[in-house]
Symmetry: C3
Subunit: 353 residues, 3 copies
């Protein structure tokens, strides 16, 4: 008789990863208008392109595409059982590019490649760098990103692998920002209907925008969202165990704060209709149910897209806080982050010109 | 550099409205079976026409239409950022008519016209009357209603506009109740499958019906529903701010109580398959998470629809309470409402003859 | 004027049931990808067949079928207003067979036959046995099961009906397990994509599997799920009344624990893609919001399906607990169940060979 443990998957530990290893992740997932509605109910985004088939078609999409972050979370969720089930911390993202619109009815799957490994000095953990890619039913890559996580070792005495830390771009280059966005018919883009008159050219580097309102998170909400993505990290779901754990309660999936901040950013960035790349992101502090999330954004850069006169790119830094309105743009407190900051996200959005 | 405030929308204040002003609201919204499912999960309606494509087709619909109140909430939600973001109170509804069935896949947008303005004596607030209309992708009006709200002034010294209080019908006339309902094949209407044997002719003026059961509201639920409608009134979502505010907690969107009462009313009004008009409604007291909502209904009037022998209209008054069963039909306590009453709704439903 | 009570349905009491009585239940229900998404958000299942249209089509389904338990809950929900609104306890299930895949877009309705009646000695209650069947829009039976419930009498002096206790199979026979599953193309079944390498032949009788992780239940979640099924048992929804009742709080629908256990069982049973029959089940103890559900499974038997070389059947016993991890397979404490056990479910699943 097999050992029962052989049937269940305890996740990979640091010493299970090999440089160059390719991991095909379970579970393939057909995304639907049902997923869109649940996501809408949890986060409340109001971007016209993702909200209306009619609006989307008029400017050049086949129909309303899925929210980019919903695509991100579904692909990310697939990687969790193989990559981060035994993670201590999700350390960072880089070189994240949205390469093709995803529509309701598409089927997503994910593959990761181990591109870096570095054992920590304490020999108890190590850092795993993976490039993860999401594919649709046509085999086209819809999302490509790198993340690195600190993963526990099963056995502290397991030998360290050869150290390899990948070189990663600090910023996705403007030439790479076009792929996921069809040519936009700006003349057909109805700014009144989109809810905001401001175009690409109206934003200036250094400009800061307080997104004004806050939104409180409930346990039911973040668990529903995170299960929607088939993300299996138990720290988000198991109050019994976590009540005795590090935080004394369930930790909210970091991506939840990203989606909340993105939804809040509509107020001030209503025509930033497409998140086209994420340059980097840091979950500065944990988020728990009962907290109210606020956000503000600084324009870090603007960029023309080679060969395109329809849209331009804004590089944004969005800061999310908990229980702290952002009228005064909280960020640092001395050398450290302001204690209210939970998210520091650096990303590119596209806007009509 | 622009002032950051220029990018965000603080909502309109009383002095921003002009009589006759037309406001095209963001965000257009394609409603889907996903929205129907989320609404089903939050409220639990059981009317056969909205629940089954097969049932709906057999009696004359193209397929199962959306719940009328889901349509109302989506259209209402669009008006919030422009009309009531700075509202002190939502004072009333009138002349609300559902004019065309809405199906999954339709795309809704909304336009409001300012039809009345009256500054209050304290000069701090004023009442804004708007006629709001929801349109589908064909440009057909699916919903038309008036509401009036008390809105704060930005500047107490701003001059008062010419006062205009519109004349509004107390009751939508029976001749106006047909538009949103196709001709019904009553012979194909399966009363057993619909769950209730009672037809139009079985209800008498003055009859009172206790809907028997109660349903408790959770914060996650009302926030999910209200975000589904893209309603942005921060009082529903921001515990941090509201914990220091008027009620010490988040206030539930008034429409939530309407949908709960409608779902509860199935027990006793199971064949009232279409809300065709709302004559008026008053949110008598605020509703908060943790409360249990009960409801009862009185038949105020019955009406024939000109030229139609398939369906008749019942004018109903539905009272919803919190933490108070309705076996004894609670309504008044002296001149005031019974303190448990939260909603007093006057509306027309259609029933097969 | 009719008595108002005549319009509402207080549910059937024990003396209202007659042997052989057939009850057509309200409300017909078109199930959609929206329902699938809400179910996904509440329970988080990861079985590839139900998750991906592409995966499902490659192995022989028309598209991704609905989760079997979602079908069960929708059909079960329809029976509640007629069968168990006045139930004291849901005593058991037997002979439950899933007979045809259900797809998004199908419309389900339900019919029950009273197949047994037995008054209890105290004359206050009696046991009602019903065979309930779910049908799709083609009139095909998709689900057939027996349950028995203890139902209150309206009047203790009402005469007892002739006693009839039906003979029920302890186990659904292997020859009956094929109907609901198309012929599977095992060569096209991608075990890596499904997330687990283990096939039918890898499981041995007596093998026990701890599903490792736990999942905490919130009130909003179980109410959303149970309303999605149009299940009207008020004990799940009405905190006001239940706070003074038997448990002092809302009781979670028993089927919620079944769906949680099934979702958790993916870890160890990832290729058990179809629940084809339920032999019996007992809700050993009540489940309440705030509890964390864990589960483990024992393989009770394996069976070949007559005439089929594509799939085999595992008879499983899944035990769910609350606030009690299952590494040591908790079950009994002396003659009684371990106090942490909430569910003891005996069922058949199909797995590729």
């Amino acid at each position: 008789m097999n050992s029962p443990a052989a049937k269940t998957d305890p996740g990979n530990f640091f010493e299970d990863f090999r440089l160059g290893q390719e991991i095909r992740h379970a579970t393939p997932r057909t995304v639907t208008v049902g997923d869109v509605a649940v996501y809408q109910g949890i986060f409340g985004p109001r971007f016209a392109v993702q909200s209306s088939d009619v609006f989307a078609r008029r400017i050049g999409y086949r129909q309303a595409p899925l929210d980019d972050l919903l695509v991100f979370h579904v692909v990310f969720g697939k990687t969790v059982p193989d990559i981060s089930l035994n993670a201590v911390a999700n350390l960072g993202y880089a070189d994240c590019r949205f390469l093709k619109p995803v529509y309701a009815g598409d089927t997503l799957s994910a593959v990761s490649e181990v591109i870096g490994l570095r054992e920590n000095a304490n020999r108890k953990t190590g850092i795993v760098y993976v490039r993860s890619r999401g594919f649709d039913q046509d085999g086209d890559c819809v999302l490509d990103y790198v993340r690195w996580v600190m993963v526990r070792k099963r056995d502290e005495n397991a030998p360290a692998p050869p150290e390899k830390v990948p070189e990663l771009p600090k910023v996705v280059a403007p030439a790479q920002l076009s792929a996921g966005c069809p040519l936009i018919n700006v003349a057909a883009y109805d700014f009144a209907l989109a809810g905001n008159p401001h175009r690409f050219g109206d934003y200036k580097v250094g400009e800061k925008i307080d997104h004004l309102v806050g939104i409180t998170v409930e346990d039911a909400e973040h668990m529903i969202a995170t299960r929607l993505y088939q993300n299996t990290a138990r720290i988000h779901f198991d109050h019994f165990t976590e009540s005795k754990g590090r935080f004394g309660k369930r930790l909210i999936y970091g991506g939840h704060a990203i989606s909340l901040a993105r939804a809040l950013s509509f107020n001030g960035l209503g025509n930033a209709f497409h998140v086209t790349a994420i340059n980097g992101g840091r979950h500065v502090a944990p988020l728990f149910a009962g907290c109210t999330v606020f956000a503000w954004t600084e324009v870090l850069a603007t960029a023309e897209l080679p060969g395109r006169s329809d849209v331009g790119a804004l590089r944004l830094r969005t800061i999310a806080t908990k229980d702290r309105p952002c009228a005064d743009f909280p960020l640092k407190s001395g050398d450290d982050y302001d204690p209210a900051v939970i998210l520091d996200l650096d990303y590119w959005v596209l806007m009509p010109k």
